[in-house]
């Protein structure tokens, strides 16, 4: 019999504030944290606004002493909250050494790389520490050492489906018997490198982000991190941990079509949702809520809508489907992690977060997107969907924990 995997801790930092509480309150109050970028001069970008984690948010958080960049800082702060929430610091020294980490990022320590590359291009003396802090696994190592978690550590980079992928790989580590406790994390920071590229690609809207709205014209990026403590049910129950939800199953795949264009007819996304449901051993009719990737781009939103309808059939019209990206921005590798947390909160609180800035329905996007206002809705089983540049897709099935009943 396969192991059941549960979520026992959560942590988040987004433009809505530090902590899951700040994230959730912002979401259900319908607030957006998107504002003008202050960390660097955004002049020349398609949009000078983003979901930036402002200095006052950082100053309110328990900052570490080390000189680290924002990417590592976000990862650390999200993990700190999740670790405390799950009570992992109360584990015995021996057990703590076995805690695994699966982290993910699209751009690593991008600001450090920019500095290093600029030194090199201008012929200045280079500083190898900058490059080391750019390396994608630097935050993984940093967090391992900060908390003394020396179990298996894995770092992924599946573009914007990274956060969901990390949760999936953490499920694998637990189901394979390699680990009992794994922190799955996704993070990214706003940087000139990333936004310069995403802007010139035309992914960013020059206006307002409006997922699933007829007038949608692109996304707005954000930064931050989400961390979830995943644990075998047996381990969690043995130590009396509070259990937020069950991670039932996941799937990852590729459209195998184009680096930037969505897949043909949503075929990849259809397969990934079906794959996650199969891994979770859940029927489409059992799904109560979908936290959509919903980027607000012209091509993506109808593709995702079509995929949801193709898999869920008539059930797709009976359940709420929402995107939180107009509230926190598209947090890149952190998106899947933060959205999984929002999904779990929806399960726990019986409230689904709204899709902000939704005003004009699009015939191609004809589901119930929970426009602008949170709604009470009982959720037992939910799907969180992500997709990324390169054509990869991921989906995660989360469920209300039923107290150990099979």
């Amino acid at each position: 019999m396969r192991k059941r995997v549960v979520v026992t801790g959560m942590g988040a930092i987004t433009c809505l504030g530090y902590g899951v509480k700040a994230l959730w309150e912002g979401l259900i109050e319908g607030r957006s944290g998107i504002s003008r970028i202050t960390r660097f001069d955004p002049t020349g970008l398609r949009n000078e606004q983003a979901g930036e984690v402002k200095e006052e948010v950082l100053l309110s958080a328990p900052l570490p002493d080390e000189d680290i960049d924002e990417a590592t800082l976000f990862a650390y702060l999200a993990c700190l909250e999740a670790v405390n929430d799950a009570g992992l610091l109360e584990l015995s020294d021996e057990e703590r050494l076995k805690v695994g980490l699966v982290f993910s990022t699209n751009f690593g320590g991008a600001s450090r790389w920019e500095e290093f590359a600029s030194q090199w291009l201008s012929g200045e003396q280079i500083d190898a520490v900058l490059f080391e802090q750019f390396e994608f696994d630097f935050p993984t190592r940093y967090v391992a050492h900060k908390f003394g978690f020396f179990g298996p550590s894995i770092t992924l980079s599946n573009s914007c489906s990274s956060g969901t992928s990390a949760i999936g790989v953490a499920i694998d580590l637990i189901r394979s018997g390699i680990s009992d406790v794994v922190i799955a994390e996704g993070h990214d920071m706003l940087s000139k490198f990333a936004l310069g590229g995403l802007s010139i690609l035309g992914t960013i809207t020059p206006e307002m982000i409006r997922p699933f709205d007829k007038r949608r014209s692109g996304t707005i990026f954000g930064e931050g991190a989400g961390a979830l403590v995943l644990e075998s049910e047996e381990h969690a129950r043995r130590r009396g941990a509070k259990i937020y939800a069950e991670a039932m199953g996941y799937a990852l795949n590729s459209n195998a079509y184009h680096l930037t264009a969505p897949g043909k007819g949503g075929e990849g996304m259809i397969r990934v949702i079906m794959g996650a449901l199969k891994d979770a051993q859940v029927a489409p009719q059992q799904v109560d809520y979908i936290n959509a990737h919903g980027t607000g781009t012209q091509l993506h939103d109808p593709e995702e809508t079509f995929a949801i309808k193709s898999v869920l059939g008539s059930r797709a019209y009976e359940i709420p489907v929402s995107s939180i990206k107009a509230a926190v921005g598209h947090v890149m590798a952190g998106a899947g992690s933060v959205e999984a947390i929002a999904t779990i909160k929806a399960i726990n609180e019986g409230i689904v977060p709204p899709t902000l800035n939704y005003e004009e329905p699009d015939p191609e996007c004809d589901l119930d997107y929970v426009p602008n206002k949170a709604r009470e809705h009982k959720v037992n089983i939910a799907i969180s969907i992500s997709a990324g540049i390169g054509g990869n897709n991921s989906a995660l099935v989360l469920a209300r924990y039923n107290g150990g009943e099979k």
Binding site: P42, G44, L45, N106, G108, W113, E114, F116, A117, S118, W120, L121, I126, D127, A128, F131, E132, F136, D137, A144, H145, G148, F150, G151, P152, S153, I154, T155, L156, S157, N158, S159, S165, V169, D172, R175, S176, K192, F193, L195, G196, G197, L198, I200, L201, G202, A251, L252, N253, S254, N255, A256, Y257, H258, L259, R271, I389, G390, G391, N392
Partner: protein, 402 residues
């Protein structure tokens, strides 16, 4: 859980392209190190690297208007692996054929070109083509597009263990029925920025006044020499391999992962010991049942000593097992190093020879290093393959003969 078979190997290294050429070169004690011609190395002490001489366009299945070297290496090795496995990717096969790929540094050349334009001309003049070719997951995405790999899909980036993480991730996905088949491995291209970062960080040979050369396990070792390369393995569940009557090169029968508490020798040795012990336990075998250890040793003062200590501890009270590192032949290929080591294990099954550790004349400890020339063996026992990162991550994989 499913048993995982290796049914195809695609390898591109400084000593050979394809499993046959690579195996032959390895056993012929060929060394792929060359003197770098780039202007930037002239003032440096480190002036060599292991480079692939074959032009990339000759290795690609189709010609590209632009492709980063890291992506090109990935495509080349995927193509070789699929051909080696005689797998035709039909529409029926594609949804259950995935890819797990690791790289530490990814497409650094494309990143630098993209960034230079932003620095000089501002955001409005950024290049969208360079940006899409600069993602860490660009190589895996291009491979999926090129070969119609629609199944399980995951990119790993964790220094020297990147490719080995991909092999472990791919193995877990197959064992859990998340895919039937997938390509798994890693690639790393030579690029100025990582070279300079590792040079400035004091990693590269010569760290002292000695000669510049990679001498794994040797008392006079003084750092590692950067290499480039790629290795992708076609992994299949045993059932999927049988279904199409595929030839099996080897089986992955156990994996172990551990992380060191620090980068000092004793802690690193503990982690390497733990990863080896876990892999043996997962494979349900004893250390004495291993034929040889394909080591991660790369001439680094710390990694080599730690790995030697860990091996000595594992074999305490037992007959010493032959140990060899192929790094002095192919270079430290960073994210590709683990999968390339797996390919060396497969080469040892095919040739019934254990490749020697080049340039190691005075082993640093009482480890039974294979030196000088290949050592004959019966190829009947599994090989324990190590992959260790300079920052303390250790992965061991047991590769069993078919």
């Amino acid at each position: 859980m499913h048993r995982v078979a290796i049914t195809g190997v695609g390898i591109v290294t400084a000593i050979g392209v394809g499993v046959e050429e690579f195996s032959h070169a390895l056993m012929a004690c060929k060394c792929g190190a060359v003197e770098l011609q780039e202007e930037f190395v002239k003032p440096l002490r480190s002036k060599t690297a292991y480079r692939i001489a074959t032009p990339m366009e000759q290795l690609l299945p189709t010609q590209k208007a632009y492709i980063d070297r890291c992506s090109a290496l990935t495509l080349a090795s995927c193509w070789l692996a699929l051909n080696d496995a005689r797998l035709v990717v039909t529409d029926e096969v594609a949804p259950n054929l995935g890819i797990c790929h690791g790289t530490a540094y990814g497409c650094q050349d494309s990143m630098l070109i993209f960034w230079e334009r932003i620095m000089k001309r501002g955001f409005r003049y950024a290049s969208s083509i360079m940006f899409t070719h600069a993602y860490m997951n660009t190589p895996i995405s291009l491979a999926a597009i090129e070969f119609n790999l629609k199944g399980y899909h995951c990119c790993y980036s964790a220094g020297m263990v990147s490719g080995m993480q991909a092999v472990v991730g791919g193995t877990m996905a197959l064992q859990r029925s998340l895919s039937k088949r997938l390509l798994a491995g890693g690639s790393e291209a030579f690029s100025a920025l990582p070279f300079m970062a590792n040079y400035d960080g004091g990693e590269l040979s010569p760290r002292d006044e000695g000669i510049e050369q990679m001498r794994p396990f040797d008392n006079s070792r003084n750092g590692w020499v950067m290499g480039e390369g790629a290795c992708m393995l076609l992994l299949e569940t045993e059932e999927a391999a049988l279904e199409r009557d595929a030839d099996v090169h080897a089986y992955i029968s156990g994996v172990g992962i551990a992380m060191s508490r620090s980068v000092n020798v004793d802690d690193m040795a503990d982690a390497i010991y733990e990863s080896m012990a876990k892999s043996l336990s997962a494979a349900h075998i004893e250390p004495s049942e291993i034929g040889w250890i394909c080591a991660s040793a790369n001439g680094s003062p710390v990694i080599d000593e730690a790995e030697a200590l860990a091996i000595l501890r594992l074999y305490e009270g037992r007959e010493n097992v032959p140990v060899s590192s192929i790094k002095a032949a192919v270079g430290e290929t960073i994210g590709a190093s683990g999968p390339i080591n797996i390919c060396a294990a497969i080469a040892s099954f095919k040739t019934k020879s254990i490749p020697p550790t080049l340039f190691s004349s005075e082993p640093c400890m009482d480890v039974r290093i294979v030196t000088g020339k290949p050592m004959s063996w019966d190829a009947a026992k599994p090989v324990l393959v190590n992959c260790v990162d300079k920052d303390g991550m250790a992965i061991s994989v047991i590769i069993a003969p078919p």
